[in-house]
């Protein structure tokens, strides 16, 4: 098994795909962090102005304690994990497309171990992408946010943890979809279209129909809930009194509208990932390699 893991890892490092996707991942994560950091800085600056102070006093809240940056962190992580998902999507699709799967199966004791090794390697890659994303986002946010709006060490660790976890899960989700589709172009298009357009449209429809709870069950909603819920919990824990009606708005800002607690969101997305991953595994396990 160690041999196969080494072989699978070499497969990923001997082509340019990993850094071809790592560069946009880092740039996107960093860019989004800079942008959202700036936006929330403007918001909290406004809340600290004299005009808003009256409103804040009226609402009985203290904006200087608001860690607005956590929303920026959550949002930026969500967007950047698109790339590890694509990276995972190409894992098996590319091998089938390039016909290297033949040699892969000829040099492994059986398909279970070949695919098992691939799984281990892509979990590792998901984590590597996750670390890169969290680091880029943290730097970007730190550059543009007020120091008062940054989370404390514990909060940052919590966000970093779910960030890496969601990157791993997104990678495995991609691996599963890629194994089922077996087409490089098809996998990429389907993953991007669904995550960026289809589900956002669904979310809009569901929330306008007054059933945002369903969003938490959808793949993108669930994975967003993972980071978004942690961000809004962190925010709420430090923000003092927040009116109930504000909570939903805050969760929407965090990208966790309709999502459940972070661990439940994580479990729901894990189920989606398992569904596609095991489906893809089963298909590859039985596939005639002609």
């Amino acid at each position: 098994m160690g041999n196969l893991i080494k072989a699978e890892f070499r497969k990923t490092t001997t082509t340019g795909l990993w850094w071809g996707l790592m560069i946009p991942t880092v740039l996107l994560a960093f860019g989004w962090a800079l942008g959202t950091g700036a936006i929330f800085k403007t918001v909290s600056d406004f809340m600290g102005s004299s005009d808003a102070e009256e409103l804040a006093t009226l609402l009985n809240v203290d904006p200087s304690q608001w860690q607005m940056s956590v929303f920026g962190i959550a949002r930026s992580i969500n967007v950047a994990t698109i790339f590890p998902m694509i990276f995972g999507g190409l894992a098996i699709a590319n091998e089938i497309n390039r016909k290297t799967i033949t040699t892969t199966f000829l040099t492994a004791p059986n398909r279970v171990s070949a695919l098992g090794a691939k799984m281990v390697v892509y979990v590792l890659w998901g984590a590597i992408f996750g670390v890169a994303i969290v680091a880029s986002v943290s730097i970007g946010i730190a550059l543009t946010s007020n120091s008062g709006s940054l989370p404390d060490a514990g909060g940052w660790l919590a966000l970093a943890g779910v960030g890496i976890l969601s990157s791993i899960l997104m990678t495995m989700f991609g691996v599963g979809v890629g194994a089922l589709m077996t087409s490089v172009v098809g996998t990429t298009v389907v993953l991007l279209l669904y995550m960026l357009i289809v589900e956002n449209g669904l979310q809009l429809v569901l929330s306008s129909q007054g059933v945002p709870e369903i969003i938490g069950f959808l793949p993108n909603g669930a994975v967003n809930g993972l980071t978004g819920s942690v961000a809004s919990s962190l925010f709420l824990a430090n923000a003092g009194v927040v009116p109930d009606e504000m909570v939903e708005v805050l969760r929407a800002i965090a990208g966790a509208l309709g999502a459940f607690d972070w661990w439940l969101s994580g479990l729901i997305f894990l189920v989606w990932t398992a569904l596609f991953f095991l489906g893809g595994w089963a298909a590859t396990q039985r596939k005639d390699i002609t």
């Binding site: 041999n3 072989a7 040099t107 390699i289």
Partner: protein
């Protein structure tokens, strides 16, 4: 674990792709120490058979064994069997050396092995080049290098000569022969007998997913008998005279001439002179190996009507067949109409003619050829596929068994 014999056993392999029967009940054995050619026309099921043997395609029925085990139970399979299945299994952006290092890691051999096999196949200078920029011949060499990584006991190659230049083919031939001579097993498929004729010792010839011939190439080569086509003034008299001289390999061919095998033209002429028969035409014809192969494998898409030409086989059997020379059955007059092309010359006999003519000889030879294999299995591995043949084309009844049914054949011929 596997038994380390280096033997490949294919037992009753069958693969159905939807409505298409790619391989039907195929059985053969490949022994170590020789290069075995796996021959058949395109679409005969060669690649599917090899992929079933290597665990890449799941058989519908039957089993392929390597060293007494299915592929999935070989442990570290690349140490036992190396395969060159296609010259396409490379990531175009990965260098040749990196490609080999990936699989060296999977097999568990040191990275230095990658450079060794690169040198071995003559790609030493191209190791840092990306496989996407390789010519077809270089890809074939790289595929072979990959197969050799685990220093396997058995090599399986699917059409490895594709894309190789003559120099490459000569090199491959020498390489495979020395590989086999070291006691290892080499199975090499091709759709061209000529391509592997000088490389292989044993052949398995398949057509329509079934075994047509299985034995040594020398036995097959022995069947390249010359025969003499003669047009006498009196067929019956000449046949009688030839029989008196102990010549039995006489057949009627559709244009009215007779074909005499195993003799030289001048013997036939001398006999005719003695018998007082005039000869209007005399021609010597040699059936080469390639044509024999063609006869064994064609008919894949042939019309069943050709089976009519099974009739003249009768003339190989003196007793029932002889009388028909005097009074050929009505069928004979009609025969020429069956040909699309007029039987204008036997340099290029119509396909139907070749079909009935050669396979019987091939199959009579089988029992001789078979014992040459070092350890013949108890149960006849090539018996079954032929029994199942639904088409009833001319070869089939004769394949079934060589000697025992010859009389039955004669009877069949007489009646036609």
């Amino acid at each position: 674990m596997h038994d380390g014999t280096g033997r490949i056993v294919v037992q009753n392999l069958t693969k159905q792709f939807g409505p298409v029967a790619a391989v039907q009940n195929l059985s053969f054995t490949v022994e170590p120490g020789s290069v075995t050619g796996f021959l058949g026309p395109n679409g005969a099921g060669k690649t599917t058979t090899l992929r079933m043997l290597l665990g890449l395609v799941t058989p519908t029925a039957g089993i392929g064994l390597i060293n007494g085990r299915p592929f999935s139970q070989l442990g570290n399979p690349a140490r036992v069997v190396g395969a060159v299945l296609e010259a396409q299994g490379f990531h175009p952006k990965r260098t040749a050396r990196n490609h080999l290092r990936v699989y060296a890691a999977a097999i568990g051999v040191p990275d230095s092995r990658a450079d060794q096999v690169l040198q071995l196949v003559g790609l030493g200078a191209a190791g840092d080049r990306k496989a996407g920029g390789f010519s077809l011949g270089m890809k074939q060499r790289l595929a072979l290098a990959t197969a050799l990584l685990g220093d396997p006991q058995i090599l399986v190659l699917d059409e490895p000569a594709n894309g190789l230049d003559p120099e490459g083919i000569a090199w491959l031939r020498t390489f495979l022969q020395s590989y086999a001579r070291s006691g290892r097993t080499v199975l090499i498929s091709s759709h061209l007998l000529a391509e592997v004729e000088q490389t292989v010792d044993q052949v398995v010839i398949i057509s329509r997913g079934q075994t047509m011939y299985y034995g040594s190439l020398d036995q097959l080569r022995d069947q390249q008998q010359a025969r003499v086509l003669v047009q006498p003034s009196d067929v019956g008299a000449l046949v009688a005279a030839l029989r008196e001289d102990g010549i039995t390999g006489i057949e009627q061919v559709p244009d009215g001439r007779i074909a005499v095998s195993g003799v030289e033209a001048k013997e036939v002429a001398d006999t005719a002179l003695k018998a007082g028969v005039s000869i209007y035409g005399l021609q010597e014809e040699k059936v080469d190996l390639e044509r024999l192969f063609f006869q064994l494998t064609n008919g894949q898409y042939a019309a069943p009507g050709q089976s009519q030409y099974a009739a003249p086989v009768a003339y190989q059997q003196p007793q029932p067949g002889y009388q028909q020379f005097q009074a050929p059955p009505p069928g004979y007059q009609q025969q020429p109409q069956q040909y699309q092309t007029p039987p204008s010359g036997y340099q290029q006999p119509p396909p139907g003619y070749e079909q009935y003519q050669q396979p019987p000889q091939g199959y009579q030879q089988q029992p001789h050829g078979y014992p040459l294999a070092p350890q013949p299995p108890q149960d006849n591995p090539y018996g079954q596929p032929q029994q199942d043949n639904p088409h009833g084309s001319p070869q089939q009844p004769q394949q079934d068994n060589p000697y025992g049914r010859q009389h039955g054949q004669g009877g069949l011929g007489g009646g036609a």
